[in-house]
Amino acid sequence: MGSSKKHKEKGRDKDAEERHREHKKHRHKERERDKERNVTREREKRKRSRSKERSGRGSEREGRSKGERSAGEPRVKKEKVEAGYQESPGIGPQSASGDASLSIEETNKLRAKLGLKPLEMTDTTKELGTKEQPMVAETINPVYIKQQNEMREKLAAMKEKRLLNKKLGKVKTLAEGDWLDDTVAWVERSRKMAKEKELAEKRAKLLQEMDEEFGVSNLVDEEFGQTKKAAYSSRDLKGLTVQHRMESFNEGETVILTLQDQGVLEEEGDVLVNVGLVDKEKAEKNVELKKKKPDYKAYEEDESVDDMATFKPRTVLGKYDEEIDGEKKKSFQLSKGGCAEGERERELQAIRETLRNQAQSLEMPALAIASEYYTPQEMVGFKKTKQRVRKIRKKALPDELQLDDTRNTDFGSRVRGRGRRQLDEGQEVSKEGVIIPGLDVPQQSDDIRMADMDISDDEDFIPTELAVLEEDEAEQDLQKQLEKQRKKLKQKQLLQDSGEKVAEQVPWLARVDGSDDEDNKNNLNIVFNATSEFCRTLGDIPTYGLSGNREDQEDIMDFEQEAARDGAGGSDSDEDENVGWSIVNVDEEQKQPDFSTASTTILDEEPIVSSGLAAALALCKNKGLLDTQMQKISRVRAPTGALPNDNYSIEDKMTIDDKYSRREEYRGFTQDFKEKDAYKPDVKIEYVDESGRKLTPKEAFRQLSHRFHGKGSGKMKTERRMKKLEEEALLKKMSSSDTPLGTVALLQEKQKSQKTPYIVLSGSGKSMNANNITK
């Protein structure tokens, strides 16, 4: 591809050269030149395409193009464009290979055939060639351009000069003037000038006279002349604004007002201010700002009401209004004659006051804690309810029974017991059978209370009084009953003797019986039944009277209920009853054990087998059926571990077998052989290393562990060991009696050879022959 580019460039250059030549020759024949260029370009391209021919498309075309080229070149200058194009073989590609393209006209034809719009031709496309045949734009020659510009400038300058000269040409210079030479002419001219002046004056006078006639002179005078202005009086003050509040001016004081500074271009009316007041206002404002009042009140209402009863909605970020809109200045206008009476202000004030007076305060009366009690005022209209003393059936009642039962009654409580009694007229309900006397006054339900009230007092309906009274009475009740209780306890303590208690009980019973004629006749005779007594001795179980296994239970029940109906006194009787019964029980308990002991002594001989195994065994023993001698059985030493028990076994978590604990266990035979008691072998275990040496225990263990772990010592260790072994071997080899060099042996040999018992030590080695000293 690079080569092709070079070709292209070359071609381009060639074209450029050609163009330039043509440029020189045919400067004005642009169109022709262009088309010729196109043609030449095509030719060049064909040349190029041939050079890089790949698909060998049409050697005939080649030939054709060649021929055309040869024919075309002389034709370049003469022939027109169409000829060049006609040579192209129709619409197909023109060159052998490579870039194939149609010209615009051909393309348009094709497009028309296909039914497409013709190609969009812009100015650029028309003038300048297509991509494949790029038209070379005119060379921009800066020198030429410069020259042209210079020319233009010159021309322009000359033109201006000309014009100037033309203008100035009219005016004669001083040097040109000929009047100097000719005095007469000068004189004439000067006279002419004077005349003209006179004429002008005359005309002016005439005009002025005319003005005077019409009375315009004054105005003219005013306009042009210095007119004395009329006095500025108070009437001129009308309409001026004073930018202070009306209130800041006090009566009797004189305040000098000056015009406020205004911008030059402002055309608003004059504003009068007093400097001192302005400063004062500023100071006040600064003080206000210094106080640092909170800008934003979170709880402010959406609308605030003005003095004039106008609603002013709450603006968002109202604190910035002054900054944005500008400070609103209070001002008032001076009326005629410079007076400001402030009537309007007074009117507004009056209106405000009237509105204020008319306003209704939304405040509610202060909330106060309601009092529990009536105030004396209220008590005036309060009437007490009449107490209705209920006639009660019971006789011999204590004083407190005078109470009004309507209040101290229970209303169908379960404690009363089963079998609701018929209520008397007026919903009289029997008093609760209180075992714990008078503990609580049953709460009256509202509707019954209401019913009571309805019955008792229809006219005077004052509910609260009743409740108060009731409570007092209930309290009194309670207190009385508690006293009674205390009395009874004291009595009990005093009377310890059972017999006395019994004795006491009888008259009491009689007394009680006497009170209840109807139902208590049976109770004069107290029946003691063995089983019942026994049951009773089981103790003071709350089942007393509830199990329903007693004959006289109903009687007792009735007795209790009737006692309850007695009212306050009923409880007392119950209490006495219980006390009595308990006393009786004690007696019965005492009797019971005597009975049991008596039975055992009688039947000593024959124990009842049915009573249990022990008895049966005792019987057998007595009868001699059992052999009571204890036999000694040789005990077999059980092996470690308990006997296996099929039926049950104690699972001890500690003995859970796990492989780690099992390891420690020795399952072998722990006992020594008796026959081999005398055998005591002498065991010596010797360990030997590879060289045959006996190993110390340490070394033996080392050997074992090496064997076990499969790896021996490292390099250093083995070297050391080897060294040590060598040293040991050397040590062994060494003679104990002699020095390592064998000096003693040498000396002995020397002695032998010399046959002297001494050795002469001489310094020089000459005396000692090598022959003598050798080993």
């Binding site: 870039d99 393209s101 296909l114 991509k131 494949e132 070379v136 020198v143």
Partner: protein
Amino acid sequence: MFTVSSYCTAVSTNSPRLSLRIRMIEVVCNDRLGKKVRVKCNSEDTIGDLKKLIAAQTGTRWDKIVLKKWYTIFKDHVSLGDYEIHDGQNLELYYQ
């Protein structure tokens, strides 16, 4: 007066601001097997029209031509301007 050297050979077929209007463009289609075709067309022409023009020049059938650029297949109903195919761009010519 005129110097031999030329300062620039401006080859311009298009003026700078042409994004909005229809212009004539020349597209090069190469199938890498020897067929390289330069087709003049409008920027508003569809690919189908371009294919027809190519077919006229190459001698194949236009519906057998597939124009691609890497893996982007140019669809028949979209215009060259929409595909942003500018003047002088190379398109790959395939056959189906």
